[in-house]
Amino acid sequence: MRRRQFLRQGVGFGVGATLWPLGGRAAAQPRRGGTFRIPIISDPPHFDFQLTQAYTIQYIYALVGNRLVKIDKGPHIHPFEYKVVPDLAQSWEQPDDRTYVFHLRKGVRWQHLAPVHGREFVADDVKFTIERYLNPETGASMRWLYKDIATIETPDKYTVRFRLKEPSASFLLHLAWHYSWMMAREVIEAHGNARKVAVGTGPYILESYDRNVRAVFKRNPDYFEANRPSIDTVEWLFIMDDAARVAAFRTAQIDIWNSVRKLDFDLLQRTTKAQYERVMDSNWGGPIVRVTKPPFNDARVRRALSLALDREAMVKVLLRGDGLINNPVPVGFQTSALPRAEAEALVKRDVREARRLLAEAGHASGFKASLITTKRYGDLYIDAVQMAVQHCKDVGIELDVKVTDYATFVKAKTETKDFELIWGSYTRYPDPGDLLEGHYVTGGGRNESGISDPKLDAMILEQKRTLDTQKRTQLIQKINRYLAQEVNAIIPTFAHYNYFAWQNYLREYRPHMDYGWPITTMWTEKR
């Protein structure tokens, strides 16, 4: 090597060695600025989150709003970990098992928008929000989240005390859940509702909303967390078509994509450099059985129906092996799920036993039943129905399938309850107790099967009141076994993964099953 070459390389190495730590540190530091672009499929009908359950409204308030407490999100948090952390409340305590006292942050301000005009957020806002939820005149269908509240007291401007009717293991989670945004009294007093106004205390202010085109949110300069958020603008882009979303992600016109189809997920992983993750979902689908209609009023018939289904084949064929056999309490609730082997054995196909039960119930030669479904949830569930038809035929149950449009499906399921079997996909819950209370308790808000089992009611109430996590898990597992062996009001099928994709230039980001993003801590390198 010549002297000049040696010197050149030595200088280069020295410069690099000097600069490298700086470059490494610079890359790790959050940078202010940039735009975060999110694909959205549909508009919320309006902005009043207490009057609509459209999921897109949760995305609005994940940017403009806050809750008393929130679900933690970020690269260090598993997408299915529901860890409750402070939000508008900086701390809380639980003096007894029915009382929660929250201490609010001081100096938090509503956004400088009419009709609130930047007023300070106080305890009365919490009381107002929850009371509006609970008021029957409001007609909020999510009021069941707060039905355990007996009283709400505001001893001073920054303290809120909840007294519950009975202990509730999921109360804190309900306050952290995405429906629990805070509502300003002035909005309701001025307009009667919040349909046209989206104002909160959150990190972003809704600057413009062009229905079905674009929504733009700008950084709130008065946000209560200093120097947060880092990203200046959040933009929603309405993209309904799957192929268009794939193309938009490939060309970096969108920065994240939640609920990617498996087909597209596999394709993108092969062709596009980005970050990917798959998370077992607690979303669940399968037939709801109307237990008041013969022959399904006989538990043996329902058990036979469950035993007829070949879930292993469904996972293999429909999910290409990338999924799990589900249980009545979805296996996506990983902390309360049964061990895998037991979970699978609980719902393992057994044609002989199914036939025996049917014969015992007086249906030795089988019977016919109608099944309603809809294409709304995608081809996966239509294909599952077709497989189920074949499986049921093997035990003598002939299913007459009616594929209806979504509104007809919803009417039959939710209002008239005029069905024998109805098959769709159902919303995920943060806590298994909510699923059990909603779908299985006598008179529960989502008890579409019509099940009324005092023993089951008692078990569900017991798990709700049990605050010890380990004991509660055992109770939920016991309920799971009981549901699979004795009840079968909702027949479990398979559990699929939820697939996420996000661009490499997004930092401090990891998706989460709760609506929203770690929006105050994430940042983007893209300019």
Partner: protein, 316 residues
């Protein structure tokens, strides 16, 4: 002519009345309503809660009363409020219609630019290689669904060029270049199919006219081919072609929902689809009435152009 136009405009009224009765009745025959859809994902639809929302929306009133209230407002230009969003139905339609209108117009212009010359050429060169090629292309374009073309375009542009039309519709008045980028491809995809029908009609009509005696006379007089075909034959062949174009345009105004979805365009097609899914009666009724009015006016315009192409036509 004036009397004819006036008579046609007056005829619009009973036609729209019939359309309003039909759409009002048919949409209410389908199971489910907007209130049930509001509770679709979360249940908890108690009879009291359903009744409360139905009362608020006037859905508990007799059907005849609902129709009378809605029509009473409609004749004054107020199409009511969307039951889903609470916003004025007409406001949403007026926002979306220019998008669909622009897409339909662009598609028709592209279709005509492609179809008319090729149709005439194929007729003038009957049974030649050009004629066979044109016929093959037109059959191909009729057979291939436009949504497939749209999906392929979006997908392969992203793969080959790392580019897709910008997302987030902008009006041509705000950013003409971005608007062109957004609409050109869907217009081409839709226009290709529309051009096939026009191309075939142009060819067959031109062929028929070229066989007429007066055209033979023109040839005998020694006129150039361009004069014979374009000046004498084409103009007389245009009346059925104009009719087809009018029908196509009317169809495109309300029938581009798939393209609107693929290319993320907020048009009337998507609004119609959403309104049907949501059972948003008011919005749906408003859209149908609006599009029917526009279609009737387009048809009137088409009829009036006949006289320009054939001066023998008189309106009485």
């Amino acid at each position: 002519m004036r009397e004819y136009v006036l008579k046609r405009i007056i005829l619009v009224v009973p036609i729209l009345f019939l359309v309003s009765v039909m759409v009002f009745s048919i949409v209410r025959l389908i199971p489910g309503d907007v209130v049930v859809m509001m509770f679709a994902e979360t249940g908890n639809a108690t009879p009291e809660r359903l009744a409360l929302f139905r009362r608020q929306l006037g859905l508990d009133r007799p059907a005849l009363e609902q129709y009378a209230v809605w029509m009473g407002r409609a004749v004054q230009g107020d199409l009511g409020d969307s039951m889903w969003t609470g916003r004025p139905a007409l406001e949403e339609i007026l926002k979306r219609f220019p998008v669909s209108g622009e897409l339909a117009l662009l598609a028709m212009v592209l279709a005509c630019v492609l179809a008319l010359p090729l149709g005439v050429l194929a007729a003038a060169r009957q049974d030649s290689a050009i004629d066979y090629a044109v016929r093959l292309v037109s059959v191909g374009m009729l057979s291939i669904p436009s949504f497939w073309i749209g999906t392929m375009v979006v997908t392969f542009l992203a793969i080959w060029f790392q580019w897709i039309p910008p997302i987030g519709y902008v009006s041509p008045l705000d950013d003409p270049w971005r608007n062109v980028q957004q609409l050109m491809l869907p217009a081409l995809a839709i226009g290709a199919r529309a051009s096939a029908a026009i191309m075939r009609m142009t060819r067959s009509q031109t062929l028929e006219i070229l066989r007429q005696n007066y055209v033979r006379t023109a040839w005998a007089k020694g006129l150039r081919e361009r004069v014979v075909v374009l000046k004498h034959a084409l103009k007389n062949a245009m009346i059925p072609v104009i009719t087809i174009m009018g029908n196509q345009f009317g169809y495109l105004l309300g029938g581009t929902v798939v393209m609107e979805i693929i290319f993320s365009l907020p048009g009337v097609g998507r609004l119609t689809l959403d309104s049907i899914i949501q059972r948003d009666y008011t919005q749906l009724q408003g859209i149908i009435l609006f599009v029917a009015t526009i279609s009737l006016l387009v048809n009137l315009l088409v009829d009036l152009t006949y006289a320009w192409f054939d001066p023998r036509i008189r309106y009485q």
